[in-house]
C-alpha cells in the first residue's frame, strides 16, 4: 500500500469512524444479543415487538435512557458523581487505538500495544471507585470497594497469562525477537498457517478469559453490582444517560477483552479468504484510487473474520452468565491470589523452560502438548479440591420411615373409617 499523505488521511478518518461506530453500536448489538441468547437458553422468547424479531428494542432503550431525568440525591458529591462515568468511559474508547481489526484498520504504530491495553484497562477502577464514593450511599460504597479490590487482584493474573504468548513470538516472530505489538503477534501466528496460539497456550487463554470476566464485572464475578446483595452496587444512585455511560463502558470493555483474546490466541483477522496474495493474484482491477480492489476485498474479509471471532467470544460471556451462580467476595479474592496467580507463574516457568530446552523442530509440539495437559490437570484438580473439602462430603440421606421423636402413631388407633360413606354431621350448637 502506498504511504502518501492522502492515504494517511483516509486511513485516519476511516479508522476513527469505524472505531466510534463500533463502540457505539456494540452495546446496542450486545444488549440485543444478550437478551436473545439468554432467552433462548432460558426457554423464553426475549424481545419480540419492536422491529423484526425485536431488533429495535435496544435502540429504543437507548432513546429512552437519553430522555430520562437525571436524578441525584441531595447528599451526592456532585463533582465526583458527575465525573465518574466519563472517567470510566474514556479509557475504554482509548484502548481501541491499540486493536488491529485488519492490516489497514489499525493505527499500527503502537509497538507497545499490550502494555497500553493493560494500563488502560486498569484505569477503569478509578471511575468505579469515584462512582462508589461520590454517590454517598452505602450500597455504592461497598460496591466500589469490592470492585477496586477485585479489579486490582485480577489485573495480575490477567497480565501474567499473556506472558506465555509474548514468549512464543520470540520463536515465531519475523526477526527472532519477541514482540508486544498486536500486529507482530498476529503476524507470528501467520508464520506457519493456522498456528493460532490457542493451540499452544490453551491454559493462557482459559486464565485470561477468566480474568477478563472479572475485569468486566461479568457473572460469575459480578460482585460489585451483585443485584441480590447490593441492589446495583456502585450504579445504585445513577440513572439516565450517566448510568448508560457505565453500561456502554462495560460492553466496550467486553469488546476489548474479547478482541485482545482474538488477537493473542485466535489469530486475529486470519481466516479463510483473508489472504492478500491470493486476491492480488486474482483481482487486477485498480480504478486508480489510493489502494487497489484486492486490498479492499482483503481488508473487508479480515475485518469480518475478526468480528466473527470477537462476537463468538462475547456470546461465551453471555453463556457463562446464564449458567453460573456468583462467587462470594472472599472466595473471589482467594481464587485470584491462591489459584490463578500461582498457576500463571507455573505456566510462565514451564513455557520458558520448554522453549529454551527443547530443540527446534519439536519445540512447539512439546510446548503445546504440555500446556494442554497442564490445563486439564488444573481443571481436574480444582474440581477435586472443591468437592473434597470437608463440607463437600456427601452425608447419608435417610429414606426409611424412622421414629426418632418416638411418637409416630400406629396405623390402628388413627385409621380412616372404613368404606366411603359420608359421616353424619353433628348438630351445630345454637349461638349464645
Amino acid at each position: 500500500m502506498p504511504q502518501n499523505l492522502g492515504f494517511l488521511i483516509v486511513h485516519f478518518v476511516v479508522t476513527l469512524v469505524f472505531f466510534i461506530a463500533l463502540v457505539a453500536t456494540n452495546a446496542v448489538i450486545m444488549v440485543y444479543l444478550e437478551r436473545k441468547v439468554m432467552a433462548y437458553m432460558q426457554d423464553r422468547v426475549g424481545p419480540l415487538h419492536y422491529g423484526p424479531q425485536g431488533m429495535l428494542q435496544s435502540t429504543l432503550d437507548v432513546v429512552k435512557l437519553l430522555l430520562k431525568e437525571d436524578i441525584r440525591s441531595q447528599l451526592t458529591d456532585n463533582a465526583i458523581f458527575s465525573l465518574a462515568p466519563m472517567v470510566f468511559f474514556a479509557p475504554v474508547i482509548t484502548a481501541f487505538v491499540a486493536l488491529p481489526f485488519s492490516p489497514f484498520m489499525t493505527t499500527g504504530a503502537i509497538g507497545t500495544a499490550l502494555i497500553l491495553y493493560v494500563a488502560l484497562s486498569s484505569l477503569d477502577i478509578i471511575g468505579v471507585f469515584m462512582a462508589g464514593w461520590g454517590s454517598n450511599s452505602k450500597y455504592s460504597l461497598i460496591g466500589g470497594l469490592r470492585s477496586a479490590a477485585q479489579m486490582i487482584s485480577y489485573e495480575l493474573p490477567l497480565m501474567l497469562s499473556l506472558v506465555g504468548v509474548v514468549m512464543l513470538t520470540s520463536i515465531l516472530g519475523h526477526n527472532g525477537v519477541g514482540s508486544i505489538s498486536f500486529s507482530d503477534i498476529i503476524n507470528a501466528q501467520l508464520q506457519t498457517p493456522w498456528l493460532w496460539f490457542i493451540l499452544i497456550q490453551p491454559l493462557g487463554l482459559l486464565i485470561y478469559y477468566t480474568c477478563g470476566l472479572a475485569e468486566t464485572n461479568r457473572a460469575p464475578f459480578d460482585l460489585p453490582e451483585a443485584e441480590s446483595e447490593l441492589v446495583a452496587g456502585y450504579l445504585t444512585e445513577y440513572s439516565g444517560m450517566r448510568w448508560a455511560m457505565f453500561f456502554l463502558g462495560e460492553y466496550g470493555n467486553m469488546l476489548i477483552v474479547s478482541s485482545v483474546a482474538t488477537v493473542l490466541f485466535l489469530g486475529g483477522w486470519s481466516g479463510p479468504g483473508a489472504d492478500l496474495q491470493f486476491w492480488q493474484a486474482h483481482i487486477s482491477a485498480n480504478p486508480g484510487g489510493i489502494f487497489s480492489v484486492a486490498d479492499l476485498v482483503f481488508n473487508l474479509i479480515a475485518v469480518f473474520w475478526f468480528l466473527v471471532k470477537v462476537y463468538a467470544l462475547q456470546v461465551v460471556f453471555i453463556w457463562v452468565r446464564s449458567t453460573l451462580p456468583r462467587l462470594r467476595a472472599d472466595q473471589l479474592m482467594q481464587y485470584a491470589w491462591l489459584i490463578l496467580i500461582p498457576i500463571t507463574l507455573v505456566n510462565i516457568l514451564v513455557t520458558s523452560v520448554l522453549l529454551l530446552a527443547v530443540p527446534q523442530p519439536y519445540t512447539l509440539w512439546v510446548t503445546g502438548i504440555v500446556n494442554w495437559l497442564m490445563m486439564f490437570v488444573y481443571i481436574f484438580t480444582l474440581t477435586r479440591i472443591i468437592q473434597a473439602s470437608p463440607a463437600g462430603k456427601k452425608p447419608v440421606w435417610v429414606n426409611e420411615p424412622t421414629n426418632a421423636l418416638g411418637f409416630m402413631p400406629s396405623k390402628t388407633d388413627n385409621a380412616l373409617p372404613a368404606g366411603s360413606e359420608t359421616p353424619k354431621l353433628q348438630s351445630p350448637t345454637p349461638a349464645r
Partner: protein
C-alpha cells in the same frame, strides 16, 4: 437512611483494629425495598467491613390483619383468606383451616376428599419448593434456574385452574371436603405433567447440585445444629436438613397420610446446601406420594353435607398440617356463633425467621442473601 436506633445494639458500634485504628461499624438497612429480601422484609445489619456483627429483622410491612379478618368471616368464607397468608402454598393453608374447623365440629371428610386433599397438597408442595429452589439460585446470582422452575410450576397452576377455577388463590377446600370433583381427564393430565417433571427434576439435580460455585457458596453457610433447631421451634425442611426427624405427615398423620406412608427426607448437614437438598428430594417424594394417592383414589362423595353457616360447638382446637415450610397450624376458639372467636395462625415462616439473626452473625455480607434464601420466607405469612 436513618437507622432505627431502637433496633440496633449500641454496645459495640466502635471497635479497635490491630493497629489501634478506630473503625466505625456501618449500619445498613437491607430492605424493605431490596431485590432479595423476598418481599418486604427489612434487615438492619451492623457491618464490620463486610462481616455482619448484628442483624435485626424488622417485620410488619405486609401486615393485612388476616387473623382479624378471619374473626369477621364465617367459617366457610374464612378459607379464602388463608390463601393470602402463605401465598406460595394456598392449598396447604386451606387444608389447615378447613381441618381445624372439621376437628372443632367432629367431622370426618369422605375418603375421596381426603385423597384429593393429599394430591393437591403434594402438588402445592412441589410448586412451593420449585419457587424456593429457583429464587434461591437467583439470590446466589444464577439467573436461569428460576425460569426453569417457574416453567414447571406453570403446569401445576394450570391443573389447579382446571380444578378450582383459579390458578393462585384456589379457594378449593371446604369444611368437610373439597369444592369440586376432579374434572374429566384431569388425572391423566396430571400423570403427563409428573412424567415431564421427573425429567426436569433430573436436570435440576445435574445442573445445580453438582455446580462447584453453588457448593462453595452453600456448604457450611448458616449452620443450624439439631439442638438449635429444636430450641428455636424450627420446623419443615430446615429442621429436617439439621437432622431433626419431624414431619407432621408422619408424626401426627392427618387425612389420607394415615394410609399413604411418607418417607421424610432427612439430612445431617444443617447448612444451606442441606436445606436445598431436602427441598429437592422432597419434590421427588411428593411425586411418589401423588402417584400413590392417584392409584389409591377411592370413589364416593367429595364433601359432607355441611350448611353454609356453620356453628361449631363452643371450644377450642389446634390443627396443624405439614406445609411446604414447616408446621402450619391453626388455633381456633369457637364461641358457638357462626364466626370464630379467635383464629390464630401458627406460620412456619414466622417461627423460622427467629433463627435468622443467630445465623447471620459472623457471616459475610454476601452470605446474608444465601442464608435468607435458604430459610425460604414468605413475608405474606410472616406479617399476615
Amino acid at each position: 437512611m436513618t437507622p432505627n436506633m431502637s433496633t440496633v445494639d449500641q454496645s459495640h458500634t466502635y471497635s479497635e483494629g490491630a493497629e489501634g485504628f478506630r473503625t466505625e461499624e456501618m449500619i445498613l438497612n437491607m430492605g424493605p425495598q431490596h431485590p432479595s429480601t423476598h418481599g418486604v422484609l427489612r434487615l438492619v445489619l451492623q457491618l464490620e467491613g463486610e462481616t455482619v456483627t448484628h442483624c435485626t429483622p424488622v417485620i410488619g410491612y405486609l401486615h393485612r390483619g388476616i387473623e382479624k379478618i378471619l374473626e369477621n368471616r364465617t367459617y366457610m368464607a374464612g378459607i379464602r383468606y388463608m390463601d393470602n397468608a402463605d401465598y406460595l402454598s394456598p392449598m396447604l393453608n386451606e387444608t389447615a383451616y378447613a381441618g381445624a374447623v372439621e376437628q372443632l365440629m367432629g367431622i370426618e371428610p369422605p375418603r375421596r376428599a381426603q385423597y384429593i386433599r393429599l394430591i393437591t397438597n403434594e402438588m402445592q408442595r412441589i410448586t412451593s419448593h420449585l419457587v424456593a429452589v429457583g429464587t434461591y439460585l437467583l439470590d446466589l446470582g444464577a439467573f436461569t434456574p428460576v425460569l426453569y422452575a417457574f416453567r414447571d410450576r406453570e403446569g401445576i397452576l394450570d391443573l389447579f385452574e382446571q380444578l378450582g377455577g383459579s390458578r393462585f388463590n384456589v379457594n378449593y377446600m371446604r369444611v368437610g371436603g373439597v369444592l369440586h370433583d376432579l374434572p374429566k381427564g384431569w388425572l391423566s393430565r396430571l400423570e403427563t405433567w409428573l412424567d415431564a417433571f421427573e425429567k426436569s427434576w433430573q436436570e435440576f439435580d445435574v445442573l445445580i447440585t453438582g455446580n462447584e460455585i453453588f457448593m462453595k457458596r452453600t456448604q457450611g453457610t448458616g449452620y443450624i445444629s439439631p439442638e438449635q433447631a429444636v430450641a428455636y421451634g424450627v420446623t419443615g425442611p430446615i429442621a429436617r436438613a439439621s437432622g431433626v426427624n419431624y414431619d407432621l405427615r408422619v408424626n401426627n398423620a392427618y387425612g389420607a397420610y394415615r394410609e399413604v406412608a411418607v418417607r421424610p427426607v432427612i439430612r445431617y448437614d444443617g447448612d444451606a446446601f442441606g436445606r436445598y437438598m431436602v427441598r429437592l428430594y422432597e419434590m421427588k417424594e411428593s411425586i411418589r406420594l401423588i402417584r400413590e394417592g392417584m392409584s389409591k383414589l377411592p370413589g364416593g362423595p367429595i364433601c359432607t353435607r355441611t350448611p353454609i353457616e356453620l356453628r361449631p360447638p363452643r371450644g377450642e382446637t389446634y390443627f396443624a398440617v405439614e406445609s411446604s415450610k414447616g408446621e402450619q397450624g391453626i388455633y381456633l376458639i369457637s364461641d358457638g356463633s357462626e364466626y370464630p372467636y379467635r383464629a390464630k395462625i401458627r406460620g412456619p415462616s414466622f417461627v423460622n425467621l427467629q433463627i435468622v439473626p443467630e445465623l447471620m452473625r459472623g457471616h459475610k455480607m454476601g452470605d446474608v442473601v444465601a442464608i435468607l434464601g435458604s430459610i425460604d420466607l414468605v413475608l405474606g405469612e410472616v406479617d399476615r
